[in-house]
Homo-oligomer: 129 residues x 3
């Protein structure tokens, strides 16, 4: 936790995908202060016909490098989320060549009792986390 | 925002898919009063083995045209959501030949600070939206 | 409802997949006390490159049988969710050969007005459910 679900257009190489996931993970660890092993990432690749992304009239261009990232997490607070948006966009642009205009993020928050990381336990409740 | 995630069975033509997405977008713009450019849609197509949908005992028949739509949005209020259900089902039946019995919808709501539409900014907080 | 979204690695047979979905459904019906027809399940299969799951430092080994289950549901209360974690892990280990260390679960909760099961109605509001 957090769980990161990436929606991408098809066409990235394995190296590009690895780099994207590594950078996103590093930014998450940095901005949320979670353990380095707190890595849960899922990638969904779509044809252009299957992912449509405009810009809500914000004049933000989209390219084939568009990344829509859904994050499921316990509450993080506004400052941490804003820092995540800023830092992720900067890092993806600098290290992965993804324009900051191509990074869209949506958070869904849940609670301590909503997570089990294995073994049938709710580790935030048991004191293990 | 909202983000619409469609779960469909494989088998629709490109034209059918385009029509479905266009109709759903139009209904969303109409019932939620959002900008026409507020379009974020993802389509996932599944084999019958990979999407199981019964009816909670409601006696609602399902066909291969079944649509499960997940909507992630800021809070919309009950009347707007109910209007969305009604209007979407009517429109999909009339314009896309999808029976109203084949349309299931699930909302997940989040908050202003949960969205960044690009450029590393939380546009609902910055005043841009 | 609940909606269960399974994220698996590619490689399971049809029988293995059927068994996994049946067991998860039975456990859900049992622990949440929902109707047997309350079955809504989606399966997403991923290449190893497209699903990364570590263990938050909990020393939980992961194998190719890893299951990440997202549950979207009306509020269930902590005891029911904890029972679901425990019972699901036991059942998957016993009946499907999935190690309890390979089962991760994340809940997202919503409300009565967030569900339409068909026909354009919000059945939790109309009194049908």
């Amino acid at each position: 936790m957090p769980l990161l679900k990436f929606h991408l257009y098809k066409g990235r190489s394995s190296d590009e995908l690895d780099g994207l996931l590594d950078v996103a993970h590093d930014v998450m660890v940095q901005t949320f202060g979670v353990p380095a092993e707190d890595r849960y990432q899922i990638v969904n690749e779509h044809a252009p016909s299957h992912m449509r992304a405009l810009d809500t009239g914000l004049d933000i261009p989209r390219t084939e490098k568009f990344v829509l990232l859904e994050v499921v997490s316990r509450p993080r607070g506004t400052p941490a989320k804003v820092a995540f948006y800023e830092t992720l966009c900067s890092a993806l642009q600098e290290k992965c060549g993804v324009p900051a205009s191509d990074v869209m993020i949506s958070f869904t928050e849940n609670s301590d009792d909503d997570w089990s990381f294995g073994l049938g336990r709710a580790q935030f409740l048991t004191g293990e986390l």
